[in-house]
């Protein structure tokens, strides 16, 4: 805060210090993020009522047919329409992210804030426990749970969700510690506001940006993990189409039928990129200070 931002000194009549900054410019990254994520959601929603072909219908006669006018993205080794499968796969992708990020958010963020506000040895023990969990690979947990409860999308995603709790707790705790050291929290305490009210009105809004970025990163990781687990046969069970398993199938045909791997690969890239841009964009837009866009 040096003299780069002149405010009107000597405010003779009050409130003259520039409302100019208030209208935000168009946030390019956010727009692209919204478009990409909307594309995925649209595909998922449309697939509920309509797909170009039945995504489950096999047809040996047209197996491994390249893109054509009737099958825009071609067919897979069982003759199923790749476009229809990709659209249905979007549903799994969204579901996967919601479950795992949802668990991480709902458990991790309050736990982190609680640990920050509680302080003392209880929070130290808690955070140490969360560090141990952090050291435990999410995929391994998913494999263990899959073995115990049977491989399914939900088991895999619950496992990933549990594994992402420490990350959310850490982010929330470090953010909350920073917020709690601010004078405005002291002011709220002097105003006799309860700890709960301070957490809700001051801590949460001020760490929201960090949490959203963590959520978008976690969401993207979950999409990738689902793809990986399905690739290994531990995630979504056939015949439900999943981008991960489509990719697994497709890679066997790389060189001869590239589109089989390229289509789900691009779909995953679009979803992950879109979510990251959306997260960063939301963080910037939610900040009322709105310095220059893209500025730290």
């Amino acid at each position: 805060m040096s003299s780069t931002r002149p405010v009107s000194s000597l405010p003779s009549s009050a409130a003259t210090a520039g409302p100019a900054r208030f209208t935000p410019g168009v946030h390019g990254g956010l727009i692209v993020g919204i478009v990409l994520v909307a594309l995925v959601i649209l595909a998922a929603v449309v697939s509920l009522v309509w797909t170009p072909h039945d995504p489950y219908a096999t047809n040996a006669a047209i197996r491994l047919a390249g893109p054509s006018s009737s099958h825009l993205l071609g067919t897979d080794p069982l003759g199923r329409d790749v476009l229809s499968q990709t659209m249905v796969g979007a549903r799994i992708t969204l579901y996967v992210g919601l479950v795992s990020v949802g668990i991480g958010l709902v458990v991790g963020v309050p736990a982190g804030i609680w640990a920050a506000m509680r302080g003392g040895w209880v929070s130290t023990v808690f955070m140490t426990g969360s560090d141990i969990l952090l050291a435990f690979p999410g995929l391994l947990l998913a494999i263990v749970l899959g073995a115990a409860f049977g491989a399914s999308t939900t088991t895999a995603m619950v496992a990933l969700g549990i594994a992402s709790i420490p990350a959310f707790a850490r982010v929330a705790r470090s953010g909350a510690l920073r917020v709690l050291s601010q004078d405005y929290v002291l002011a709220a305490r002097v105003a006799n506001r309860s700890g709960w009210a301070i957490a809700r009105d001051h801590v949460l809004p001020n760490i929201a940006g960090m949490v959203i970025v963590q959520a978008s990163v976690s969401y993207a990781l979950a999409v990738l993990a689902e793809a990986g687990l399905s690739f290994m046969g531990l995630g979504t069970a056939p015949p439900t189409p999943s981008w991960g398993r489509m990719l697994a199938t497709g890679q066997q045909f790389l060189g001869s039928h590239d589109y089989l791997a390229v289509v789900p690969g691009v779909a995953i890239a679009v979803a992950v990129l879109g979510l990251n841009l959306l997260g960063d964009g939301l963080r910037d837009v939610m900040d009322p200070r709105l310095k220059q866009v893209g500025d730290e």
């Binding site: 040096s2 003299s3 780069t4 002149p6 003259t16 900054r21 002011a187 006799n192």
Partner: protein, 552 residues
């Protein structure tokens, strides 16, 4: 004087962003051995001017014009590499915050030796063969000169092991190590305690004088300038609006802004409703002891902070007893570490004493029930030092000011009404409510903080350095506002400050704290005019006062 090469010659210096001009055609020249003050408030472009001279502007700003340091060709627009021969050798700089200006992971002696090596000093330049202790030997004279008590061990110390004043002395030693022709000091003593500030200023003036170097001294504090400098430049909105000798500018200011600035920093002329200095004790507003029971009472309060097993505990307060009476404005003055902020935290029940009791309105805080505490908090509000930090950046002003009312479960319509009335009372328009803290200037933010403190109609307001983060001109206004509101609403004001001058003009009585104990209590007039304790005397003598009488 005319045939001497000036230490620095600036002409037509402009600094601009792509769209705005921040510094506009600044011209001045400093002769060797001359001390020139550059004053202005935040945003006036004074720091940018100094950075432009040193070639240290941030990347998104461009400078034009000409700057010649000790007869050099124009240095404006030089690359870092081209600038290197000048920095530290011909011109050097002292920054505001000595803790961040020194590398925390490097011994002080090593940092000073590095500067010497850069300047081509033969004793340290034949590097490689020399041991660390030899290097430290070479820097001892420099550290001795700036008055460090034990220069040899200071050379081995890391910055965090030194006090703020000692760190700034090290910075000065580094800045002067290579005998520069020009020293630029940007608010060098603003972060220091008053008594330390006086010593550091004297040191700087002496060393610069001995070397015949030019000094460009940037500050917002007019009293400091009048003490240090011979000539002064006044900046406003990127322009130098007035310049001349201290006596001329402060004695008979020509520009309207300079006059306003001087009037604002001269608290003598401020009428804050205190019993006048020209002895009229009979009509004193100050409540006399025994008239009413004290509203706040500290009895033998001590506070010890433990710092883990490795470090000894800190005695922040030691057997402090204080009585504060209803309707009085009470100041607590002390330097950092004196325990004044701890006293304030006890009073607001943000912290509990290790021993002793704090009573507010006859209620012992340590025995208060939850509902008694709630009632008390409604009655006792707080104003913080940094108005930006004390306002939640994500909340609108309306919500911020309404926050104390939320805890009281007041219906929404009434809340909105009260908030608008309160904002008006502190001189802000009612449409303020929809805006966010960053859209206001420092003084306006402090008005908002005051509105929040008074919205519950408390009888006690506790203020922690309420004006020390504000510009001079705004400071007077905020003090006036505080004085007016406390009188109108019959409030008891407890104010903590490091600045005896401010407390003197606002408060009826004052307690001076040092190292956790109260060394002196009395009416501000008596404490200022006739201090009893040696520390109070030192504090009073160190407090910068405008040394030139203004013509009003």
């Amino acid at each position: 004087m005319s045939d001497m090469v000036p230490a620095v010659d600036v002409s037509g210096l402009c600094v601009r962003t792509r769209s705005r001009v921040l510094v506009d055609s600044v011209e001045f020249s400093i002769a060797p051995g001359e001390r020139v003050g550059l004053i202005g408030e935040s945003g006036s472009g004074k720091s940018l001017t100094s950075l432009a001279i040193m070639g240290l502007l941030p990347d998104n700003l461009t400078a034009s014009g000409s700057v010649s340091i000790a007869g050099s060709p124009n240095v404006v627009g030089l690359t870092d590499k081209e600038m290197a021969p000048y920095r530290g050798r011909v011109a050097s700089m002292v920054f505001q915050e000595p803790m961040t200006a020194l590398d925390p992971l490097m011994r002080v002696g090593d940092q000073l030796a590095e500067v010497l090596r850069h300047g081509g000093n033969s004793e340290v330049s034949s590097s490689g063969t020399r041991s660390r202790s030899d290097l430290h030997q070479a820097v001892v004279p420099g550290l001795t000169e700036v008055g460090l008590p034990d220069p040899a061990s200071a050379a081995r110390a890391y910055p965090h092991q030194l006090s703020g004043g000692q760190r700034q002395r090290v910075m000065i030693a580094m800045a002067l190590a290579n005998e520069p022709a020009l020293l630029v000091a940007d608010e060098p003593t603003t972060a220091l305690d008053v008594t330390v500030q006086a010593q550091v200023l004297d040191l700087m003036v002496r060393l610069v004088e001995e070397r015949g170097a030019g000094l460009l001294f940037i500050t917002h504090d007019l009293a400091v300038v009048s003490r240090v400098c011979e000539r002064v430049l006044v900046m406003l909105g990127g322009n130098v609006v007035e310049s001349g000798s201290i006596t001329d500018v402060f004695g008979s200011p020509q520009h309207e802004y300079t006059r306003r600035l001087l009037a604002a920093s001269d608290l003598e002329t401020l009428d804050l409703g205190l019993p006048s200095t020209s002895a009229m004790p009979s009509v004193s507003v100050m409540p006399q002891e025994g008239e009413a029971p004290p509203i706040i009472r500290f009895t033998n309060v001590s506070k010890v902070y433990s710092r883990g097993r490795t470090q000894p505990p800190v005695q922040a307060m030691n057997a402090v007893s204080l009585d504060i009476y209803p309707g009085e404005r009470f100041g607590i003055v002390g330097e950092s570490g004196s325990g004044k902020t701890t006293a304030l935290r006890m009073l607001t029940a943000l912290d509990t004493p290790t021993s002793g009791t704090v009573e507010v309105k006859g209620l012992r805080l340590d025995l208060a029930t939850k509902s008694q505490m709630a009632a008390l908090r409604r009655n006792q509000q707080m104003v913080f030092q940094d108005p930006l930090g004390s306002l939640d950046p994500r909340m609108t002003i309306g919500r911020i000011v309404a926050e104390p009312l939320l805890a009281l479960r007041i219906p929404k319509a009434e809340r909105v009404q009260t908030v608008e009335e309160m904002l008006l009372a502190v001189g802000l328009p009612a449409d303020t409510t929809a805006r966010y803290p960053h859209q206001f200037s420092g003084g306006q933010r402090q008005r908002i903080a005051i509105a929040r403190a008074l919205v519950t109609q408390p009888s006690i307001v506790v203020a922690d350095e309420p004006v020390s983060a504000l510009d001079v001109s705004v400071r007077a206004q905020v003090l006036e506002l505080l004085a007016r509101l406390t009188t109108q609403r019959n409030l008891t004001l407890v104010m903590v400050s490091h600045d005896l001058a401010v407390v003197r003009h606002l408060c009826h009585r004052v307690a001076v704290m040092q190292n956790g104990t109260v060394v002196e209590v009395g009416t501000t007039q008596q404490v200022w005019d006739d201090p009893q304790h040696s520390y109070t005397k030192r504090l009073q003598a160190s407090t910068p006062v405008m040394e030139i009488a203004t013509q009003t």
